[in-house]
Amino acid sequence: MAKHRGRGIATIEYPTGMNQNGDPSQAWIKVKPDGRIDVFAGTVDIGQGSKTVHTQIVADTIGVPYEWVTMDVSNTDSSPICTGSFASRGTFIGGNAVRFAAERVRERILEIASKEMEIDAADLEIEDGEVVAKGAPDRKLGLADVAAAATWTHGELLTGAGAAFKPYSTVDDDTGEVDSEPHSAISYAACVAEVEVDDETGEVRVDKLVQVYDVGRAINPTLVEGQIEGGALMGLGLGLLESSYPYYPSVEHRGEQFGAYLAPTLEDLPDLDNVILEHPSADGPYGAKAIGEMANNAQPPAIMSAIHDALGVWVTEAPATPEKVLNAIQERRAPQRDGKRVVYDDQISIAAVSGNRGKGGDGEGFLLPDE
């Protein structure tokens, strides 16, 4: 009886946006007479930080300080449609919606500034809240003055709307092919797990996870890291602790006690080594792809593979509870038939070989092992 150490790897790829597309996000933006920016969008921040990332995208696209932008993302009356915060689509699709809206607002600002400064709009740019003539940085006008001129002189509203949408891709039933790309981008990740397994108790401890995520451009690396770390512990839970089975999705036989559903706690916290790899996408906002849902996919297979490295046996179903680990060890030690490894399991072996269970018309025939 001993403790065994093992190391395993898993790689994954994950699509950005809803499978087969058809999931719009929309946004509209207005500039107040004091030059401050109001964004109305429907992508709800559930803690992943989409509000921060969208604010960054709007501020950078228009050319104003981050603090000038206010996001209103919680009012379904005032905000246009967003399909939702799911499918790893918030930064890419929601982000593109606010980017497109911000690009239009930027054009409108330059249009009014052009009249005020008597310089062609193509020769103007916006930097840190000021409209500046290209090549002549002393000729500038604050955004507050442009917005005021729009309001009080020209009688116009600086506004812009944007929508990100990839049309629904149809599947050909005969060939299985789709008529357009069924996703917006593909993100990639790899995870290496180092585990220690006790072959007496079946207990697995994850000591370290090394995780590499290609998310396109990391618009906010701290938030990406937050997703990686959060996903690490979710993935650890899926690999070792959490299960809704055997009766999911029936609610009748689910655990009644909160404590019966085990989620990772501070006790389970492994060493984490995170790497963000940037391979910018062609059409995401500033090259972004996604992290979102992919963050908890690579850890369970990496952990299973590390257990195999440690013990030489595969646990074929997550989570790798002590019971399953011990069963896997025992199965390898189980007696063999005629020197061959033959597996029959009355839970998983398929019992029926034909409609009459292998019997002939006379009721004779071979007996299944449970008869």
């Binding site: 007479p33 603090e67 009080w152 937050g226 959060g230």
Partner: protein, 177 residues
């Protein structure tokens, strides 16, 4: 039942055997203690009772008659955060925020008893609080930063409105008003 909640003395009409959590949320409208598992397992309902972190979901109101109860509402406010709140803000020690009041209160109480906890002591003290978003890494970083006093002025003033938001020089330039 009488309680001093966040410095204000209250006379409560919630039934004595109902939980402190329900009295705070339903009668007083103080919603920072969260009704998570309501079995004492997740830590989201944690409040300070006479300065000690306790599960308000398992605490009958009658058991704390006359006590002093503190929730995060009393620790600080936007623009004037407590050092622990500011550390959570600065280290990005939260995502959805559901577990945050419990973590912040437990950390506040721990640092009052032990201003310089080791990493092992932090993990042991806070292990009863479940977080499903952050993977705990930045929560522990926030607790360590708060213990070190490594909290910036800007973080203490987070959430402030007014001049710190870089308000424009002229509120409504060109306005006839």
């Amino acid at each position: 039942m009488r309680l001093t909640v966040n410095g204000i003395e209250r006379e409560l009409s919630t039934r004595p055997l109902d939980t402190l959590l329900n009295a705070l949320r339903e009668e007083l409208g103080i919603t920072s203690p969260k009704a998570g598992c309501q079995q004492g397992g997740c830590g989201a309902c944690t409040v300070l009772i006479d300065g000690e972190p306790r599960r308000s979901c398992l605490t009958p109101l009658v058991a704390v008659d006359g006590a002093t109860v503190t929730t995060v509402e009393a620790l600080g406010e936007p623009g004037n955060l407590s050092p622990v709140q500011a550390a959570f803000y600065e280290q990005y020690g939260l995502q959805c925020g559901f577990c945050t009041p419990g973590f912040v209160l437990a950390t506040t109480a721990m640092l009052e008893r032990n201003a310089n906890p080791s990493r092992e002591q932090i993990l042991e003290e806070l292990v009863g609080h479940v977080c499903r978003c952050t993977g705990y890494v930045k929560i522990v970083a926030a607790v360590e930063a708060a213990a070190r006093g490594d909290v910036s002025e800007a973080a203490l003033e987070a959430g402030a409105t007014g001049p710190s938001r870089r308000e424009p020089e002229v509120l409504v330039p060109g306005s006839p008003a």
